[in-house]
């Protein structure tokens, strides 16, 4: 059972300088409960693929192709439908937690905003309880205090935990993580990955994990696809790709990780 099936996704930018084929015919599927990795260097089109899934590509970008979420092609649906899915059925956590939060509102206010946006809930104290519960689930130090803090008062690692909490708060079916640990230092990175392991185990979510770091992808994912210049060059199970990479690009990507070890 595929929770997500992408067929020939093309995201082209019609600029004054010419046509930029940022995502050029990408197809893959994610099974329910699976952790799928999308690896590639900067500029390969990974983030745009994620944004295209939710039809969030700004003009002059145009998206073409099929994005089947639980069988329904969401690219053909209207804005209202998509707004209902964004942040509730499909959630994304981005790379840079310091700029992902609105600087003039408290963490608690923004978490409750995420709750009100998708749940039919009017009760403030209930929403507050849910927010605190999720802050606890992602192991933020002292959720009560963090609830009243402003983003600039928190460290990068804590902010990323908050972003993960906000992504999970409406129980999404598909969680997209776009380089969630790239902006964090290595020790915090390890903690966040441990947290994600725990969440994957507990919630049994389907995950699209995007990263340029093959090491992280190897640790977290069951199946993966390698992206290069807007196309998928190789796709398969973790064991197949790591032990027997068929494409030269995949091989050189793996070499660059091994070189550091």
């Amino acid at each position: 059972m595929d929770i997500l099936k992408i067929n020939d996704l093309k995201t082209y930018f019609h600029t004054k300088e010419g046509l930029v084929k940022a995502v050029n015919g990408v197809s893959f599927n994610i099974k329910k409960g699976e952790v799928f990795g999308l690896v590639g260097e900067s500029g390969s089109g990974k983030t745009l693929t994620a944004l295209s899934i939710l039809k969030l590509v700004p003009p002059p970008g145009k998206i073409d192709g099929e994005v089947l979420f639980n069988g329904i092609d969401i690219l053909k649906m209207g804005e209202t439908y998509l707004r209902g899915i964004r942040g509730s059925k499909i959630a994304i956590v981005f790379q840079e937690p310091s700029t992902s939060l609105d600087p003039v509102f408290t963490i608690g206010y923004q978490m409750m905003e995420a709750i009100y946006a998708h749940r039919d809930l009017q009760n403030r104290s209930r929403a507050r309880k849910i927010a605190l519960e999720y802050l606890d689930n992602v192991h933020t130090p002292d959720p009560e205090r963090i609830f009243h803090d402003y983003p600039h008062q928190l460290s990068g690692g804590t902010k990323q935990r908050v972003m993960i909490a906000m992504a999970l708060i409406n129980s999404p079916e598909l969680l997209i993580l776009d380089e969630p640990t790239t902006a964090l230092d290595v020790t915090i990175q390890a903690q966040i990955l441990d947290l994600l392991d725990e969440i994957i185990e507990r919630e049994k979510l389907s995950i699209l994990f995007i990263s340029h770091d093959f090491g992280i992808i190897a640790r977290m994912c069951d199946r993966m696809a390698v992206m290069h210049k807007g196309r998928i060059v190789e796709m398969g199970d973790k064991a197949d790709i790591l032990n027997d990479p068929k494409e030269p690009y995949t091989r050189s990507l793996l070499e660059s990780v091994k070189a550091l070890v």
Partner: protein, 273 residues
Amino acid sequence: MIREIAKNKMALASAVFIIIMVIFALFAPLIATYDPTRVDTKFILSPPSSQHIFGTDTLGRDIFSRIVYGARISLSIGFIAVGIAVLIGIFFGSIAGYYGGKIDSILMRFVDIMLCFPTLFLILAVIAFLEPSIFNIMAVIGITNWMGVARLIRAEILTLKERDFVACARVMGASDMWIILRHLIPNAIGPVLVSATLGIGGAILIESALSFLGIGVQPPTPSWGNMLMDGKSTLGVAWWLTIFPGLFILFTVLSYNLLGSALRDILEPRLKN
């Protein structure tokens, strides 16, 4: 921010003066020593004394009490006129800034057209045409002064809408209206606060000018401007009819200007963030 205002001596003095004027306005019946419209023929044109600390005018009315009630008029006209200007400005500025393109061009050309009007003459014309009621004065000052705010909001939103937290809000399912109202405007409000503070001073001056010319607040309602009009004919013999309202206009507008300038300094380094 309050702490930072306290650090700046000028700003602190201005804020204190404004607070005193607000107290005058709110608690006028308790502070005024006499009824401002009470005619007392025994005390016509008497100089400042222990009974009438600012003296009396040509009808024997107590100047101090008229100043206190006048604060009500001048301050409320200032606040509400600027409130109207800010609302209109935020409306046009945020739509132009957020949507860009043709909508932005059309709205900004509209702003340019409005800026071409010489506002004081426009206000004079409108008030001469309609009746000079307090509401009309507030509305007219507001409707001719929103353009600066519109430009400020538009400029802020043009940069703010590219920020990550806006993209994240979209990813969470926020609509355009929600993003503009709940994220962009609260972040863009800094420069508008400065402009509004300075604008209150300006609005008070305009109202005083209109009332001095006789087409603003009508007697017997006291306004600092129409008190100047009363004092014009007796300036040689009774300086207190003119000097006191004049000083209050001066210090109030000066306070708003100094406070606005201080706010600009306070918000400036934050704006760079």
